[in-house]
């Protein structure tokens, strides 16, 4: 009670960089006991990094920690592991569930904190041979669920629960910890139905009344305004706004999230909408079942020779569009290319129709990590177009043309400035940016008519970013290839593309020229957010 005057949580000058990439710059925040803080910002604005620092996540400590001070209850703290953070009274509900599927809610709520009954055997073999006190477990979980204020079946197995109840089970688990002072909820309403979301908001209010502080991360601004005392907005690692919820509104928050007053580059300098250009690709009523990036009923026309950007927040479905069209995830709908209908769910036919795709998942889909650059760059062109093959015995045997492959690889190494020891180096040994260039080279080697590029600059440094984007523009100009570029970085899309379609809630919420003001993009992004 002595600490009543000091805020529960105080962040002072928090800074963090990953290999020289500044992701958080001088964050100062205060949160009182029982207060609810709404944290907003685009993906990559630094929200999750900030929360990870607070929670002592391993990827923070492994990358050199952070600078600045965190005070909890007036005491300076610095957590090396999540366990220390939990011990100190911080609870976090992640977006991915951390639940044992074959256990019921009660067992999950008390996982590894089960009340035990003493037995003499444990004197010899250690505490782990105490039996569980099922009755007490039941009481404790009932208590936690009651605290949460949302009724869930405590004896239902997790794997037969609707997804919303899993979320509530996680929240109840945090609430069952007696020391809990601060609860972090990372986009908890994304998986909830409307009624469940309402129940959660009521529950957050209840927690706040009990003196538990809450940090609530969400893209649904209406929820923020309903439940939070304070709204904080992060943009590019900077805390741009921190105001009482009563003094702000949706429009203002949106503006803070996307507006870049300083570097407000008004679109691509050479952007040119070509309203007369013929439609080369027409997508109608496309749905894609890509986990976490579901696409619902998308219709979109791509014009010949343009660079079309697809933007939107993470998880809204923008990645699902190229992945679905290219046949990597189950999809339905109609896709027409140059007047011919392209059957879905067959990567081969897409490639044969001279599409190419640079996947957002470089390491898993984009590259043969344990093979040479030569293989990585030439493989699709060899398989699809029979390039780089030499025929023997009158075409009976087709061998790899090692010389042609090496020349091709050398050409792209030079053109894209891929930093490597030679054409025979394994892709695994390259840095992220250079790996991305290899992925581009692989697609360029196919000489496609239509190129899908997904998150081309994700996780690469600034220099490489510029190079990659310029290479894309140049390729589009010189070979006349139509490019569809998907990216979470709006600024980058505006610099590169002619038109930008924004995806929200799995649907196209609007298409704007890249010179349109940032606020308009922001509004579209949050339109149908799930």
């Amino acid at each position: 009670m002595e600490t009543n005057s000091a805020p529960l949580l105080k962040l002072q000058g928090i800074k963090k960089d990953f290999n020289g990439n500044q992701v958080l710059a001088d964050i100062n925040l205060e949160l009182g006991k029982g207060e609810v803080l709404g944290l907003c910002g685009e993906n990559g604005a630094g929200k999750s990094t900030l929360m990870k620092i607070l929670f002592g996540a391993a990827d923070i400590t492994e990358t050199g920690g952070y600078s600045g001070d965190i005070y909890l209850d007036g005491q300076k703290v610095s957590f090396e592991t999540p366990f220390e953070a939990i011990e100190a009274g911080i609870g976090m509900v992640h977006q991915e569930f951390s639940l044992i599927p074959g256990f019921d809610a009660t067992e999950n709520i008390l996982l590894n904190r089960e009340p035990e009954k003493y037995s003499f055997i444990s004197e010899i073999f250690g505490d782990r041979l105490n039996t569980l006190d099922r009755k007490k477990m039941d009481e404790r979980s009932a208590e936690a669920v009651e605290k949460m204020g949302v009724a869930i079946d405590r004896h239902m197995m997790i794997n037969s629960m609707p997804v919303g109840h899993k979320q509530f089970t996680e929240i109840a688990r945090e609430l069952s910890k007696d020391q809990l002072k601060l609860l972090i909820l990372d986009e908890p309403t994304a998986v909830l139905t409307e009624r469940e979301a309402e129940a959660l908001l009521a529950s957050i209010k209840g927690m706040s009344e009990r003196g538990i502080s809450v940090i609530f991360i969400t893209h649904r601004l209406q929820e923020v305004l309903t439940v939070c005392d304070t709204v904080a907005v992060l943009r590019d690692g900077v805390l741009v706004e921190c105001t009482p919820a009563s003094e702000t509104d949706e429009a203002r928050i949106t503006k803070s999230m996307v507006g870049r007053s300083i570097m407000g580059v008004a679109g691509s300098d050479d952007a040119s909408e070509q309203p007369d250009a013929p439609t080369i690709l027409s997508i109608e009523k496309l749905w894609v079942d890509m986990p976490g990036e579901t696409v619902r009923n998308v219709s979109l026309d791509v014009k010949e020779g343009e660079i079309l950007g697809i933007g939107g927040l993470a998880g809204q479905g923008k990645l699902g569009i190229p992945n679905g069209i290219m046949g990597l995830y189950e999809a339905g709908g109609t896709v027409t290319f140059e007047g011919r209908q392209i059957p879905l769910n067959n990567p081969r036919i897409c490639l044969d129709s001279s599409f190419a795709f640079v996947s957002e998942d470089r390491r898993r889909v984009g590259l043969l990590l344990d093979e040479s650059l030569e293989w990585n760059i030439s493989f699709p062109a060899m398989q699809i177009q029979n390039k780089f093959l030499k025929s023997y015995l009158g075409g009976l045997i087709k061998w790899r043309d090692e010389k042609a492959i090496r020349e091709l690889t050398e050409k792209y190494i030079e053109e894209l400035q891929i930093r490597c020891t030679g054409t025979k180096q394994n892709a695994r040994q390259l840095s992220g940016g250079n790996q991305q260039k290899v992925c581009l080279a692989k697609a360029f080697a196919l000489q496609p008519r239509l190129l899908f590029v997904s998150e081309p600059t994700r996780g690469i440094d600034v220099g490489a970013k510029a190079l990659v984007l310029n290479a894309l523009k140049k390729f589009n100009k010189e070979s006349g290839t139509t490019v569809v570029m998907v990216s979470s970085e709006l600024q980058e899309l505006r610099q590169t593309c002619d038109r930008i379609a924004i995806v929200s809630g799995g649907r196209i919420s609007g298409i704007l020229p890249s010179s349109a003001p940032m606020e308009e993009f922001g509004t579209l992004m949050l339109k149908d957010v799930v």
Binding site: P82, F83, S98, L99, I100, P101, G102, F103, E107, L111, N112, E114, E116, D127, R128, L129, N130, T131, L132, K285, W287, D289, P291, T294, R296, N297, S299, E330, G332, R507, I508
Partner: protein, 369 residues
């Protein structure tokens, strides 16, 4: 859920049918048959129980249970040489086998922790590897480095153990204690009591904190780790327990047999125990005590009657011998295939559900935009 249960039950049902066909053909009297099954129940049930705990910890069928069996054989050979007879000898053998089993179990557990996701093939190769070391000890070191006094168990060349070591002094000493004969069927009551106690221990174990942790680790290692459970240690403990129990089970098994086939007794034990458990309706990730007993009855009934029935049908007793070997392997193969396809089925079912949701939603969305 129901569908999976039917798939689960399909193996026991198939075996009931095989047994139903073979029993009349074998020409065995019911009394003989019951006698045999009761004997084999006492002989094998404990060994099979040792498989349950690694399954609970998500490590699959522990082909490495052979390690415990080898520990037990070494212990029995030593006790035999020291001429400690009857039940005290068995107790001493058990006491000697436990530390050896624990060491082997820790070794095996550590190796399996480095081969997550392919525990079964690794534990299977592990059994071969340790068999090599076992041979090194028994065939070369015993008598030359480890003192063996009695020439009855030593090879004539002066070191190494004979192919067969007689356990006459212990033969069925445990089984005969408190034995009751009902209608010509001898029931080894004490052995059954030991097995029953073991079942109770397993039931109790499932309710302990450690048991709960093992179930958690078995279902999702990452979640368990995030909750602060020491995943690696828990997995090692499960293998250690399994190895120790297999060792004790092997002592019960060998006292019933009355001799040790020094170089072959353990080699098939793992396979037959696993096959029996699977015949009882267990799967790679789920097994109960009920599966153990149903499995022993069905599998060994088949084992007893198949050669005779085969001989009756074809006039060649070898056919039946090969048939039962084939069936043992086939059962394991089918169980493994079912386990892997079930895993994939669960995945595709999830994506199918998503699709249906979208299909239902897609036309509705179409009207809106």
């Amino acid at each position: 859920m129901k569908k999976i249960n039917l798939r689960q039950a399909s193996v026991p049902i198939m075996f009931i049918i095989i047994c139903a066909i073979c029993i009349p053909l074998s020409g065995l009297s019911p009394k003989m048959l019951v006698n045999e099954i009761v004997t084999r129940m006492g002989r094998n049930a404990f060994l099979i129980l040792s498989l349950l705990i690694p399954i609970m910890a998500g490590m699959g069928l522990n082909f490495g249970m052979t390690l415990g069996a080898m520990a037990a054989e070494i212990a029995l050979i030593l006790v035999c040489d020291w001429q400690i007879v009857s039940v005290p000898g068995m107790i001493l053998a058990a006491i000697i086998s436990v530390p050896i089993s624990v060491l082997l179990g820790i070794f095996c557990g550590k190796i399996l922790n480095r081969a997550k996701g392919r525990e079964m093939i690794t534990s299977y190769i592990m059994a071969f590897f340790v068999n090599g070391i076992y041979q090194l000890i028994v065939l070369y070191l015993m008598g030359s480095v480890i003192p063996i006094k009695h020439s009855t168990i030593k090879l004539p060349r002066g070191y190494g153990i004979r192919n067969t070591v007689s356990l006459l002094s212990m033969r069925q000493k445990l089984d005969n204690m408190l034995a009751v004969t009902i209608g010509g069927v001898k029931i080894p009551v004490l052995t059954f009591i030991i097995i029953a106690v073991m079942c109770l221990v397993i039931v109790w174990f499932r309710r302990t904190k450690l048991g709960q942790d093992m179930r958690a680790v078995g279902q999702d290692m990452e979640v368990a780790r995030d909750a602060g459970i020491n995943v690696e240690r828990t997995r090692i403990i499960s293998i250690v327990i399994s190895t120790v129990l297999a060792g004790l089970g092997m002592i019960i098994y060998l006292q019933n047999m009355g001799n040790i086939a020094t170089y072959t007794a353990h080699s098939q034990i793992g396979m037959f125990c696993i096959a029996a458990l699977l015949v009882g309706g267990a799967s790679v990730d789920k097994a109960s005590i009920g599966n153990v007993f149903l499995g022993v009855v069905l599998f060994h009934t088949m084992f007893i009657v198949a050669p005779r029935a085969g001989a009756y049908i074809t006039g060649d007793s070898m056919i039946g011998e090969y048939f039962r070997v084939f069936v043992s392997y086939a059962v394991i193969t089918v169980a493994l295939i079912m386990y892997e396809t079930n895993k994939r089925r669960a995945k595709s079912a999830a994506s199918q559900r998503l699709q249906e949701e979208q299909d239902a939603e897609s036309p509705a969305g179409g009207e809106n935009s």
